[in-house]
């Protein structure tokens, strides 16, 4: 496929080769992107986060980070491990893509297949998610993703799928697109870990059937210089459950968007995140949950700990459509600023068209509670350790969103290590 010159976008977009439906999907995505254009600083939705490093033709090089002082993330958990190095599937360090209850393929393989279930899903939830707010970088992803996984859960997955994203090339530019479909009653846990590349653009589309359960925990690595934009698009049918938790420690720029449409009654969606930033760190959580069914619950719980000039952003919305009665929506975004140089920018939004709903939202920015700090110190706990305990106390509500205790403990121990390394 030849490069397409797009003057509207100020950069050239090359569509990777794909089969018949893949090529059509990519062209459609490119058309969407061309219509909306790449984001720029004047866009309301990009008011707090500068998109330039995410939209430029080439990425800003990012130094490789050596995180060998810690055991690999999720190492102790029995998983099906799949590895991408700088955005490219690595067969050598991946296990066979075979597991009871699930079928897994590489995106490229699925695209070459003329008849494939993923054909109807690839780019579809992303397209739905473009309204009412445009997400050009997700369209860019659908047009240009070079690799990814196509996962079909037909029953209870035998074990979690662990996707490891290694970063080994200082100038790598990864565009990954996963498509995940859960049949009625299917259950799947996806774990993701690692920085992936100098620059990552990742989309994950998750389509859940009735009573399907999707559980997602990810950590975005410890690299300082990498930047990333990620989108999760999920569609939830009746009585399905969606849970996602993200730990972000370090990273010069991260924009994590999560767009969920609840289309079936009695479903729930919980999205949570903990972000830890020290110095050159900009982290943006942008969440949009649409309730379009009766008696559904959604939660957004995002906590950020910021120091030495780090910046946190939260843009979260709950949209309750006219027929979505008995909606229970909760949204909390909080930042703990460990000094005066750091900042938190929050835009919490509720838009409700149904009259029988319970929605609450809150956003706070605060410092360490001096009284609590004194209380701990008066019991003999050293100042640094006391402060760490209070930071963990602050993050506890977000960590509490992880259902699986083993995973929660793993995240907790990483938080503790990070705090120890970043004591003032």
């Amino acid at each position: 496929m030849p490069a397409t010159a797009l003057t509207e976008l100020d950069r050239e977009i090359t569509l990777p080769a794909a089969g018949v439906w893949g090529t059509k999907s990519r062209k459609d995505a490119l058309a969407r992107l061309t219509a909306m254009g790449l984001p720029n600083r004047r866009d309301e939705y990009w008011k707090y986060t500068r998109p330039e490093t995410l939209t430029s033709a080439t990425p800003t090089p990012a130094a490789i980070f050596d995180g060998n002082d810690e055991a690999p993330m999720f190492d102790a958990i029995d998983c099906l491990q799949i590895t991408f190095i700088d955005g490219v599937f690595d067969a050598n360090s991946s296990e066979d893509l075979e597991m009871a209850g699930v079928s897994i393929e590489r995106l490229a393989t699925a695209m070459e297949n003329d008849v494939h279930w993923a054909k109807d899903l690839y780019g579809t939830l992303e397209t739905n998610g473009q309204n009412p707010v445009q997400r050009p970088l997700a369209a860019l992803n659908s047009a240009t993703a070079t690799d990814g996984l196509v996962i079909h859960a037909t029953g209870q997955a035998a074990k979690p799928v662990l996707i490891r994203y290694l970063h080994q090339n200082e100038t790598s530019d990864a565009v990954l697109h996963h498509v995940i479909k859960l049949d009625d009653g299917a259950a799947l846990t996806v774990l993701e870990t690692g920085p992936a590349a100098a620059r990552l653009n990742k989309v994950m589309e998750v389509d859940q059937g009735n009573e399907a359960r999707f559980n997602h925990v990810r950590t975005q690595g410890r690299d300082h210089a990498r930047c990333a934009v990620t989108h999760i698009f999920a569609r939830l049918a009746t009585e399905s459950r969606f849970k996602s938790f993200t730990l972000t420690a370090n990273g010069v720029l991260t924009r994590n968007e999560c767009i969920i449409e609840i289309t079936g009654d009695d479903a729930f969606a919980h999205v949570a995140g903990a972000a830890l930033g020290d110095g050159d760190f900009h982290h943006d959580d942008t969440v949009f949950i649409t309730h379009d069914a009766v008696n559904c619950e959604s939660r957004q719980v995002f906590k950020k700990v910021l120091r030495n000039g780090a910046t946190g952003v939260f843009q979260g919305k709950i949209l309750v459509q006219p027929d979505a009665q008995k909606t229970d929506g909760y949204q909390i975004s909080q930042a703990l600023l460990l000094d005066d140089d750091s900042q938190f920018l929050a835009k919490p939004e509720l838009e409700i068209y149904a009259d029988d709903v319970a929605c609450s939202h809150g956003s706070t920015t605060g410092a360490i509670d001096e009284t609590a700090l004194f209380y701990l110190r008066s019991r003999g706990v050293e100042k640094d350790e006391a402060q760490d305990l209070l930071v963990l106390s602050f993050l506890a509500e977000a960590i509490g969103e992880i259902e699986d205790e083993v995973l929660a403990d793993e995240i907790q121990s990483r938080l503790e290590s990070w705090l120890k390394r970043h004591r003032s």
Binding site: F374, Y375, S378, R379, G380, V381, E382, L390, F394, A396
Partner: protein, 251 residues
């Protein structure tokens, strides 16, 4: 044990002197009580001893077994054997009571150059001490003081005291907000820690606590000074006549 000499303290934020020369000497194994009207400087004394921010010591000294307390960080004072039972114990969501206790105990042991207690050893000791204070397993598991009743919070303070085994215990209005039964339970906990060596400074508004924790010496504090000291009968005198007579006497 505790020697306070001419302690003068002002607020950091405003030019206001709170303590105007406090002298107090507590010997080993003694129980002293400080009573006094609101705003007399009782709680400030406890905060300054334990090292809370916001106060400036302008003169005087406070020594624990000869060591200058005012020169130490709060955690160093704790490791040296000072304990303050808070009037308003602080809630710390997300930190389990047990984790907190163990961190505190082991921090102090580490500071004193002692071996840390293993999880097993710690658990055994804490269960035993919690039982005496009617603190159940659930209270130990829950986040520190979160959702605790007033009585539970105070009992939790005494549990910390029992676990940390301080030399000098300061109780800041431990009876406030407690009903009679809860107060008795707390007092029993305190009395169980009286071993002839450990010293106590009990700050209170009311004589009734002193019925349960019997003091050796009672001090009356007013306007930033100790204006009168005496035996337990002094507390009864205050209970019957209020502070007015005493204040006039010394004015």
């Amino acid at each position: 044990m505790l020697e306070i000499k001419n302690l003068q303290v002002s607020l950091e934020e405003e030019d206001k002197q709170i303590l105007k020369g406090v002298d107090l000497s507590i010997g080993e194994g003694e129980v002293h009580a400080i009573m006094g009207p609101n705003g007399s400087g009782k709680s400030t004394t406890s905060y300054v001893l334990s090292g809370k921010d916001g106060y400036v010591v302008t003169d005087g000294s406070a020594k624990l077994n000869g060591n200058d307390l005012l020169d130490m960080e709060p955690e160093e004072r704790a490791a040296a054997g000072l304990f303050l039972a808070f009037q308003y114990p602080v809630e710390i969501p997300g930190v389990g009571n047990m984790t907190f206790l163990r961190t505190a105990v082991n921090s102090q042991r580490k500071a004193r150059g002692e071996d840390e207690l293993s999880a097993g050893e710690f658990l055994k000791v804490v269960r035993e001490k919690a039982k005496a204070l009617k603190i159940d397993a659930d209270m130990l598991k829950r986040p520190v003081n979160v959702g605790f009743s007033g009585g539970e919070k105070k009992r939790n303070e005494i549990l910390q005291m029992a676990m940390l085994e301080p030399k000098m215990c300061v109780l800041d209005e431990t009876d406030s907000g407690l009903d009679v039964d809860a107060m008795k339970l707390v007092a029993e906990g305190v009395n169980a820690l009286r071993d002839g060596k450990r010293s106590f400074l009990v700050i209170t508004h009311y004589q009734r606590l002193l019925d349960h924790i019997k003091p050796d010496v009672v001090h009356i504090m007013a306007n930033g000074r100790i204006i009168k000291s005496g035996g337990p009968e002094l507390a009864l005198e205050v209970e019957n006549n209020g502070y007015a007579d005493l204040l006039e006497e010394t004015a």
